[in-house]
Amino acid sequence: MKPKPLFLVVEDNADHRFLLEWSYQKSNQSCNILFAEDGLKAMEILENSPVKPALVLLDYELPHINGLELMSRLKGSTQWRHLPIVMMSANDDPKLVNQAYTAGANSFLGKPQNYEEFKKIWSLVFEFWSLTAKLP
């Protein structure tokens, strides 16, 4: 049986990590998820984890290296350029959305405002990326 893809979620906000985990538990769990609290931890996981993530869900607003900087590093690297990155942000200003796509984001999500929306959105994210799309 094919192993479930691993999604690396880079999110510094503990409440949002909790909501993501909760939404994941309510979903059909078609992937595995792993959390990193900031961009540096995400890089450590990418470099050292024996199981490589198949997709990164990347918060825009992060301490140290922000999401856009981390994405530019990954998309500028031959090793990680292929890795799909779904950017997420509470700020869905169209300028930011376009900037993220132009810098190489595979997709962009506006962060939902309540539990029900979180659950709905994450269920569609998990469904599309782990069941419908082919990942590298």
Partner: protein
């Protein structure tokens, strides 16, 4: 002003275009869909159309300019790289999938061999990209704002 997302499907195979059109017409999808029969026609549409596509669905195996060449042209263009390109192809091997992502494909879908599965794929694609993801704002919307 038309604010519905516009999906541009690039596929040389008439049957595949018809099947996707059928999947689209089967539900009440709040988007527009247009077709190009080749990579060159897709570029012509993008250059000359008043409305910029919100997303491209691109076959790989096409005569003339293939889907990966079209992807490369779009992702190398300052003007067009913002537009998500989703590959939709029968090519289902990991080398081509990795190559497409490496070249900047936003996602990759494999064409199924039956209509019901195609319909499910279209539905999942539509729901993710229009009601979950934020699509880039088009040139037209910028001009109108």
């Amino acid at each position: 002003m038309n604010t519905k997302p516009l999906f541009l499907v690039v596929d040389d195979d008439q049957d595949d275009r018809d099947l996707l059109g059928m999947a689209y017409r089967q539900g009440s999808y709040n988007c527009e869909i247009i077709f190009a029969e080749s990579g060159q026609e897709a570029l012509d549409i993008m250059e000359n159309s008043r409305v910029q596509p919100s997303l491209l669905l691109v076959d790989i195996n096409m005569p003339g300019m293939n889907g990966l060449e079209l992807l490369q042209k779009i992702k190398n263009s300052e003007e067009w790289r913002v537009v998500p390109v989703v590959m939709l192809t029968t090519a289902n091997n990991s080398k081509i999938i990795d190559t497409a992502y490496h070249m900047g494909a936003n996602s990759y879908l494999v064409k199924p061999d039956n209509f019901q599965t195609l319909s499910n794929i279209w539905d999942s694609l539509y729901r993710f990209w229009t009601s979950t993801a934020k699509l880039p704002v088009s040139r037209t919307q910028y001009l109108a704002s």
